[in-house]
Amino acid sequence: MILPWHIIRLWVLISLAALLAGVLLVPAPTLADEELHHAGLVVRDAQGRMTYAWVPFSEEEIDGIDLLHRSGIPIVTVGFGALGEGVCSIAGQGCGVAECRRTVCQASAANAPYWQYFQQAPSDPAVWTWQPLGASSSTVEDGEVFGWSWTAEDPALPALPPAEIASRAGADDTAATEPVFRTVSPDGVATAVYTPPPDGPTTVAAAVILVVIAGSALALTVWRRAEAVT
């Protein structure tokens, strides 16, 4: 027996609606229901400033880019499709998006630094292993520590256990519920300062200059057009 077409169509629609309702109506797990996992992050810039972060997450595992994003450290990344995301700058060190899209901030010289990515060995905090596939391809699980170093040579990342990293990041204990990070500058190295924005009078003066240029352009155009007509 062959079912009429409209019955089949109705059955397909009801099945799809039930599937959609099942997906939408299942309550999302709340953070309180789940056990939080934690991972550490150590970032070393060209001047030797160290940034420590301690990041909680509810999933079983996340990737290295997620860890960076969740840490709260200011970062710039650019997507490279199926290859994942490239890290352009961390805490102000690195390059802009346009250059990052071209070179991932790595100049052509052999000793040109760039953001290198490492994982701390769980058994020995002094051992940092370079991660050649990058942060998008790495998985971060509970208790693991990852490092970023702006260098072309030795990463010079510290031999600190996860609990010490959590402490230096500013977490009360390793069971923190909010991500925290802190930057420590070595002796003689100033804290990173950003260029101050232009003050009000300078901005007004710049706007006036633009208006004068626009007014002159308009006046010259009107004059030249009128001259052409007469």
């Binding site: 499709g81 998006v97 240029i213 308009l218 057009r225």
Partner: protein, 346 residues
């Protein structure tokens, strides 16, 4: 109507102006110099683009606007970076999935502004340059290259004019475009017409002995050909190094390129006859040319000085946080001088 005809400005003055106007959009995305340059270039375009020549180049500006919009969308959808989120697409969507940020939107707008400025500079040159005079500026040995370049450049306005004519003709026959499939009645005649024009141009050049072999005593010596090749390779490699930021290597290579090209083009043996080009009319260089080139050189000097002393005046990154861009008042003030071609009347 006035019967008084204005002569075109000397191409050298226009080329210096174009270099000065093209530098800010090429070296950075700071909105202040970008806006000043764009306003000045549009002012010059508006003053010099009246008539049929301007009408031929206007579609190119419209095309640049379309590319600008594409650039804004591309950046907004692919750069998921910044501190001002304005929306989000599902993470599962490849490439475009993720947070949409105001930072990416602003960077896209600035890129669109830069693209439009460069196209406006090109369109202004297209309208105003006296191509025959420009070709005479080049060394004799580059005459063939100049002819090819000018033919290629002239195809842009010719193609846009042909497109408009084909569309009008098809609409007179009742053609009404409703989708991408309806483009065929426009594209196929445009392609056929373009091929036909190419053949006619090629025959005309052939009839004038373009590309014919020179007399043996006039042909280039082997070392001249080698010198030109070395110069071109060094120039391309130098440009590549410049793009990568290897300033020292780039400077060396560009110096080698300049020396090789000059040697290949200008040095000849004592017994080698000299190709002489005759002129029907000598180029005119009067006060308007002095004003335009002087103003453009002043702009160029200040731009280079600012580029070395205060690069932030040209550069701007709205990532990772949206901060006000740096301002260089002297640079902005001097960019107003780019309006000089609009103020002169040759």
């Amino acid at each position: 109507m006035s019967t008084q005809r204005t002569r075109p400005l000397d191409p050298r003055a226009w080329i210096i102006w174009a270099v000065a106007a093209g530098l800010p959009p090429l070296v950075g995305r700071n909105p202040w110099p970008l806006a000043a340059t764009l306003i000045a270039v549009l002012g010059v375009w508006a003053c010099w683009s009246a008539g049929a020549a301007g009408a031929h180049w206007r579609p190119l500006l419209r095309l640049a606007l379309v590319f600008g919009v594409v650039s804004v969308l591309f950046n907004l959808l692919t750069a998921h970076v910044g501190d001002r989120a304005i929306g989000a697409l599902p993470e599962a969507w490849p490439v475009i999935g993720g947070v949409l940020t105001l930072n990416a939107l602003i960077y896209g707008l600035l890129s669109a502004m830069a693209i439009f400025s460069l196209v406006a500079v090109g369109a202004t040159l297209g309208v105003t340059l006296d191509w025959s005079a420009t070709m005479r500026l080049l060394p004799e040995r580059m005459a063939a290259l100049a002819v090819v370049g000018s033919v290629a450049w002239s195809y842009l306005p010719r193609t846009t004019a042909a497109f408009a004519e084909i569309r009008e003709a098809q609409m007179a026959r009742g053609y009404r475009p409703r989708g991408i499939r309806d483009a065929a009645p426009l594209v196929i005649p445009l392609l056929a017409g373009g091929l036909e024009r190419s053949m006619i141009t090629a025959e005309a050049l052939e009839a004038r002995a373009f590309g014919a072999p020179l007399a043996p005593e006039l042909t280039s010596r082997r070392w001249q050909v080698a010198s030109l090749l070395v110069g071109l390779v060094a120039a391309l490699t130098g440009a590549f190094c410049l793009a990568l930021g290897q300033l020292t290597v780039a400077g060396g290579l560009l110096a080698v390129a300049a020396a090789s090209l000059l040697a290949g083009l200008f040095i000849r043996r004592g017994d080698q006859p000299h190709l002489r080009r005759t002129r029907y009319r000598d180029p005119v260089w009067e006060r308007p040319e002095w004003i335009v080139s002087g103003a453009a050189l002043a702009v160029l000097t200040v731009e280079i000085a600012v580029l070395f002393l205060d690069p932030a005046a040209f550069r701007y990154e709205p990532y990772p946080s949206l901060t006000p861009p740096a301002i260089s008042l002297p640079l902005l003030a001097v960019l107003g001088l780019l309006l000089a071609p609009a103020a002169v009347r040759p």
